[in-house]
Amino acid sequence: MADILRVENLSKSYGPVEALRGITFTAGDGEILGLLGPNGAGKTSTIECIVGLRRPDQGSISICGLNALTEPKRVKQRIGVALQSIALQDKITSREALGLFGSFYERHLEPHDLIERFSLREKADFPFQSLSAGQRQRLALALAFVNQPDLLLLDEPTVGLDPQSRHDLHASIEQLRDDNRTILLATHDMAEAQQLCSRIAIINHGKLIALGSPDELIRQANLLSSVHFQISARAELRQIFALPEAREVEWQGDWGAFRTASPNVALIELAKLLEAQHLDLLDLQLRRPTLEDAFIKLTGGR
């Protein structure tokens, strides 16, 4: 997979505040790379440096093999950007905005095609001020896609959207991924990142602290699965403490719980133990660690 985006040792300071401290990552062809981090971590600064809104103090950015810092105009022909909030004139219509933005690019899609693709037909000729939040974000995505970019940069595109609009927007992003577009998606929504991204870069305090697929990040965080079970008799099974794979065992009434690094092995051992004690298993829940757990652990939060 060829690298569409290559960021190396990116640093940016605002006065005494170091927003980015030597960030390095790549995004391959057709990949959705999530940029995950708490508020103020440096996600937006990273995107702003990549798209040319800010000049980094140090580092290099290469997009489709072009140096983004020395060839910004050529790079802009190859990228599409949807910033956190879409800003357009109140009276401009979606069709006009798409036509206007498209006219700046060497290759571009016709407004009609974009209107169909991003489900904007209903309000295509209405002024921007009359669009709902979801419609505005879909328009922002359509504007970002107007030049059929090789790299799309989306900065928290679903913030403030209702569940239905969010779902629709996710569908549009997935469609772009299916078109083999490379997408850099900045978000602090774990579910969104886990659903959409093939790899995730976690940024905290301006530093890249982890990079990998959601599963890799969970493994990297070294988190345990938790097993909760209910048995027929109210009896504490001291033997459970002795199970080689069970840790942090707790009892609450007829419910027991423990953590384990190997749930398969632990569950077999638990079943054997219950069988030996002639106890019935009434309920069993296995909770595997999530990306959110990994994120919290990696960023040092609770």
């Binding site: 909030s85 800003a87 357009l88 206007l100 006219s103």
Partner: protein, 458 residues
Amino acid sequence: MKGLLQHLLISLRLNFRSRQALVYGFIFPVAFLFAFWGIYNKSIPPLNDELGQVLTVTILSGACFGMPTAMVAERQRGVWRRYRLLPAGTGGIVISGMIGRVVLVGLAVLIQLVLAHFVCGANWPAHPVRLAIVFLFVIFAFLGLGLVITMLADDVPAVQALGQTVFLPMLIVGGVGVKLAILPDWARHIAVFMPGLYSVEAINQSIQSTVPADRWPLSVSIGALFLIGISGCVAGRMMFRWDSNERMSPAGRKWVVLAILPWLAVGAFAHVAGYVKLRESSVAIAPATAPGNIQSTGWQSISDADIEKIRYDDLLPDWDQVTPVAQSLENLDEAGGARVESFENALNAWQPGKIDDLEQRVRNLLAAASISDILPDPQEREITFIIFQHIRADVPDDKLVRILAYISTHPDSGAVITAVPELTIEGEMKESEIRQRIEAYSRKLLARVTGKTYQGRL
């Protein structure tokens, strides 16, 4: 290029969708035109001397309020930030916005010219091509200024505040709202430092068929406007910011000096080159001492149709206490006869009644009649009778009718003598009162020359 053209077209389209932009961009200029027409409706042809001011106000407000307001509002809501992500050059979007403003203001100016002609009866501009070129220089100068305001202002209220600091001085003491001719000396000295005056001068020289000799060359105005415009544009470019949150550094603000420097330079040049003095000489210096090479030529723009439009029905009868005229010099007693004879002798030797500038010469003579009326002089009727005869003998009728028509329709023009002790008339009168009398006397004499009558004409 295609993108910038599209941006220009969209900007124009959006402007016409904004009620506020239509009111400020088109309704206000039309209202302003009619306000000027209401104030200066006596001049013939109507608005001949005022269109320069009217159009300057339109261009000034479009460039220094309209454009910065639109640009700052777009920048404030993040539209410019989004544009920055496009593969267009830094200046492309701004230049497209400026060209859009040229089109909008040009349209407003065109509407004003059409209405001035068809509704107010003003002449079409005598030099339309020159006017179009001058318009481009004027709007270039003001757009440069507007660009500096755009870069300085963080939000729309700041545009209003900064715009007023430029607009109001030009309107009041810059020769734009108030005519240079009626400004006090100190204000005339200030006015030459402001681009508004050069705009008024250049536009008037494109609209009027003849240009009074006391005007500085058109090239001076054009040069001043270009210098002011180019410095404003360079300063605006250097102070450029895409984002309202992007604070301007103190070094950035220093570029304001570059935008202001040409104002000082052109003002100083106007003083050194004697343009201020030249303008003063026809306005404020006693006409008798005016340089011989100065010729008022405004009267040459008066046509036969203009003369026909002049009305006489509001003139007071010749036997009235105000603006009286004797029917003859007969029936004077001995003292009166002696007084009239001494006045005639003095008049024949009176220098202000002999100056080369015909228009001013007639105005001086009518001023003497007016002073004798206001005092009043015991022989005021006879004095006016003698002055009328003197003028008719002195100035050929074909020129005299135009001069009198011009003086009556341009009561604020030229200089006015306020005391004539050399003519044995003692006392000094107010200029405003004398101008009123000159206006009435010019029509009374015009009626005599053209054979018109009015109630109580002797």
